[in-house]
Amino acid sequence: MSLLRIENLTIRTGGQALVKDMSLVIEPGARVGLIGESGSGKSLTALAAIGLLPPGLKPEGSILLDGVQVIGASEEKLKALRGRTAAFVFQEPLTALDPLMKIGRQVAEPIARRHRRDGRSAGRQEIVAEVRHYLERVALPDIDRIMNAYPFQISGGQRQRVAIAMALACRPKLLIADEPTTALDVTTQAEILELLSTLVREEGMALLFISHDLPVVAKVAEEVTVLRRGQVVEQGPVRSVFGSPQHEYTKMLVDAAAAFDRALGAQQ
């Protein structure tokens, strides 16, 4: 069974379709990139996949997440899917994290929630040990200090690592990352991309990676879907889509990315 199967998804607001007849399949363990420019509907698609569309946006079609129909599902049913089946990492960790809560407590939340969900109560010690485990997993230094710090007291890259640790702590089957490195410096971006690739492989999670940046997607994804104004223009393995794009729009994107790439000269 596919982990995520989106079929003929259309998202409307008023009379306007923001996503049109979109289909996308993610198998367990697959790493899929969703590429699009602003207004392409890439983030809406990801939000729709876990039933997080803002009110006023109506999805039609079918979204099966781990076999459960998301469209029209009750909030209760969706809550059970979120975290357990799919977890989200957003673009801006400064807004994704609670500014008034220390990192240790924030990471403890999804852990405690997971234990409750599994019907067992975990002691404080056990949870703290797990918090440490996940902060180690995302290669954060000086864990004692970071657990006691507020989000503003750590760097942007460290904040994004914390957000990834919180997503991991849910032990999801699918990790959805929406432009997770766009707000980061290029050297930090390289580290986070490396971390995400490693973690996804080691934990056997599937990855849906959303970005406007072609080379970034090429770093982490095996398959790619290109969206334009809410419609899929091209889908396939990264190598063939980037290597020999068929659609005019994909060609234009690949040419533009290649032009900046060429300007940098040969890879060191």
Partner: protein, 248 residues
Amino acid sequence: MTLISVDSVAFGYSRKEPVLHDVSFTVKKGVNLGLVGESGSGKSTILKLLLGLERPSSGVIRFEGQPMNLNDREFMRRYRRAVQAVFQDPYSSLDPRQKVEAIIAEPLRALKIPGDHRAAIEQALADVGLPVDAISRYPHEFSGGQRQRIALARAIVARPQLVLADEAVSALDLSTRIRIVDLLKDLSKAITILLVSHDLGVVAALCEEIIILEKGRIVEAGRTEDILARPQHPYTRKLLASVPRMPA
């Protein structure tokens, strides 16, 4: 010919924590210069100094050989006429309540530049590839890329020698970004561009010279081609290695 020289400039918001240490470089007429660095590198601070929004704590900035003096109104008028700016976000850099005509006319009015303003505005619009009828519209009627063209038209309308571009294409989509970079390249036949950016690819595509900043210090500077081909400083190497590349 040297347009601007920055000579041993240091700056700090407090005495304890300097954000720029002993920075020296020159901007030469006709040679586009890229200032590259990550957050905290001091690139925006350098820009503020060049815009005359802050004064160096030590060192001196010269324009055409004359030390920059923020109190000398005559000098500053000449300076602002010669040095204009374009910012990152065209959604916040254009006054939403002014028509494009008034927005682009601003430098002409503020600098009391004589002549036919309407003709100058129309020429600037043509130079940035916008239709003449844009003149009577408001910023919200334009896309992000078109707004950045409006911001560029404002920057070039007084025919400056230098345009300071602060991450001027970073907020744009890839397909728009490449067109604005092409436009900047085109404009730089007549106007020198100093581009502040974290994006090495964009800088490489536009600038003949490059300065790499780390934590308020210049770690490497020179011809872009040379530095990309043979980076000397470990930080430059790390930066280059971090840029994700298209699969071969």
